[in-house]
Symmetry: C2
Subunit: 299 residues, 2 copies
């Protein structure tokens, strides 16, 4: 099981108050020491569109300094277009994440393009990233439902997955951007996706809008999904959908899987400390439960 | 799938402010109209111990008036001892719930007795209830962990289940009083319990202390559990354990299963209305998510 922390990107991008770069560095450094595998640092989006992400290049410049990060840790960055990839390449990013929405309305609102056009461009950009030697993860947003359109047909999601696989991308995240997924839908979707290519590395990304994030993660893990995206303290929500709750909470997810015997190498109390720090910084209670109630005594 | 609403008992019993009987009646009447199958009205505990439950006899006296409730609906009451059963019989209760804890510390703090003694008494009381023609559900509290003791051995839980089955009780609830359960533990526990008697009617009862209530319900349903106990708005927490979050939230659970195709006969919006009313009554946000964000548009 591979843990991909997305709080510094998907979590913070909805926050109105822009967090200083030094504060982000502090949180990222502390998360890096917990043993989490991948940390998403920011998004190479236009700074005017998401001011919270304006320091992404500066963050990478600092974090990628030689000898600074643990060897096994990867820092990832979200890339939305060619210009974003240019920036990512310029600051030495090792892993980029790119995606399209499976909802036409969401795609048009987010990118100004229909799904088919957005997909063609993303595959081209992802190809350039791969050719430059970067690790590439491609994703399908709104894969389990859309805040604008409601139901998203499973076949449309699988069609995008097929395109990714045909283009040679095998790290594929299915994202429940609006938080509409339910466990049996998750099981069926990932089972169908794995039927297209059982050797591909599928990732899941859930939001907790209806309280189902951990139930959906558990369903995804049952189908063999290896990569799980989560956000410290349950920060998050998508600014481009009408309603989206926070991301699955990193400490809550880690608490669950450690009790089931997995990833005991990751420092849960370190994650909890960061969650407490983030909550204190914003001066409000965040959605996570474990950072508030603590772990189970004696275990 | 049978829905057992326990918010008026397990939910309210931790609330310091005593809710007037007329307000409880209003909520229960509204819940009754949603099509929920069983509503737990209160607990026949000593009124001095839990003042919130002091009106339980009065509630039943009103609710059991001839012609008042839907025919398919059951009202249940929690019974802790012989005196409680006397009261339940006196007010014409149709279904009683009785239980013991699988944690010695919890058992002694809750009943003043060791598990073995508490079990003997509960089986005797349950036997008298059954002989009087009542529906009887017996339970194992702290079945997945204890706020005092931490881990509770599965074999100890199964031993209690065995005693219940041998005594002829086949409606058996396994309750995660402290909220420690994780999905794989839930699957294994209920699978083992069903191996003792596959024809028994097992119920699950989870608390959301670590955010896992719905994930655990889903795991339980996979093993064939038919009875699910939940609490409107996610009210709850156990006053006899050190830490316990709210019960699984009724509307959130219903929202999940309806999206998976089950129990579409139950009026979700009616449940949401009651949750809103309970939240407004207490003047605070309760743990449920669906009553706050609403259902998914267009579905």
């Amino acid at each position: 099981m591979v843990l991909h922390e997305v709080g510094m990107r998907d979590g913070l991008q909805m926050e109105q108050h822009t967090v200083p770069t030094a504060q982000k560095i502090e949180w990222i450094d502390r998360l890096a020491r917990t043993g989490i595998d991948i940390i998403q640092v920011g998004s190479f989006v236009h700074p005017g569109k998401v001011p919270q992400m304006a320091d992404t290049d500066m963050l990478f410049a600092e974090l990628m300094k030689p000898g600074r990060k643990p060897r096994t840790l990867l820092f990832s960055g979200l890339v939305l277009n060619e210009k974003g990839l240019d920036r990512a390449l310029a600051c030495g990013v090792e892993m980029v994440c790119l995606g399209v929405s499976a909802s036409e309305t969401h795609s048009r609102k987010n990118t100004g393009m229909a799904i088919a056009d957005a997909l063609e461009r993303i595959i081209a950009t992802a190809g350039r990233a791969a050719a430059a030697g970067l690790k590439v993860q491609v994703s399908v947003q709104s894969a389990f439902g859309c805040g604008y359109e409601g139901t998203v047909p499973r076949e449309r999601v699988l069609e995008i997955v097929r395109h990714y696989l045909e283009a040679g991308f095998t790290a594929i995240s299915l994202a429940d951007t609006a938080g509409h997924a339910v466990p049996d839908q998750v099981e069926r979707m990932f089972a169908d996706a794995r039927n297209l290519d059982a050797s591909a590395g599928f990732a899941c990304h859930f939001h907790n809008t209806y309280g189902l994030g951990l139930a959906n993660c558990n369903a995804a893990l049952k189908t063999g999904v290896k990569y799980v995206e989560s956000s410290v303290a349950g920060l998050g929500g998508c600014p481009f959908t009408k309603i989206a709750g926070g991301n699955v909470c990193t400490e809550d997810f880690l608490h669950m899987i450690q009790r089931m015997g997995f990833r005991r190498d990751v420092d849960l109390s370190g994650c909890i400390d960061v969650a407490k720090s983030v909550s204190a910084y914003f001066g409000r209670e965040l959605p996570g439960t474990v950072y508030r109630v603590g772990t189970i005594p004696g275990e």
